[in-house]
Subunit: 150 residues, 2 copies
Amino acid sequence: MRRILLALATVVGVVTALPAAAQFQKPEDAVKYRKGAFWVMGQHFGRIGAMVQGRVPFDGAVAAANAEIVADMSKLPFAGFVEGTAGTEKGTPKANVWTDKAKFDAGAKKMQEEAAKLATAAKANNLETLKTAFGSAAATCKACHDDYRN
Amino acid sequence: MRRILLALATVVGVVTALPAAAQFQKPEDAVKYRKGAFWVMGQHFGRIGAMVQGRVPFDGAVAAANAEIVADMSKLPFAGFVEGTAGTEKGTPKANVWTDKAKFDAGAKKMQEEAAKLATAAKANNLETLKTAFGSAAATCKACHDDYRN
């Protein structure tokens, strides 16, 4: 049985196989984790945004380095959405993160996919290609923020 | 000249070629960044620690997944140590981060090297190998915390 469970865990993804809460000692730790991961991701995403919006000169290598970090970071924050950590203050998650979980998870997956596409697009070293991919990725951020964030 | 500078930036590393502060809009953003990156890293490092210390059963695949994230995350927080963000409260960096910068940077590099070694060691799927690499990595965390953290 243990062997079957282990094999199953390997198939479905070892980390996500555990309930998210089991990975954190306290709910506050999970909140701090998701906020930290989103913040780090947002800083790197913002640096690409600054190029896309012409606030800083385009530099393909810098864009690619930042997009790589965005793609890596995009995998992390969702484990931090443990039950019982909804809020009402600005910036906190609404309860529908958990009551409408399948849709929330689909939105998270979409964002991760667009982040991966952004990392690939950024390697093209072309501002127009970067702009398109950045726009698609930014739309997935906004979609979830609109629906699930106070 | 611009071409030479660009070539140089590529050689020495595009992101670190810029002064760290130039990457953040406000010093508070940099502080939030380094704290977030360390917290995320610490959570994953702690999960390996729990196995090493026998608090949770050893699972090689989970250890390897966590070590991979630790190695990736180890590259990030140091950009957040921008000038003027020393503190006196518990957990804040002491001023010697900046006055003794070469030594601090060497400590950071050592930690990153040990995190990379941990990621390699974790793939061996052997608890004793993991323990050794975890101990070496943990020692690099402690060394800097002892010297540079209030």
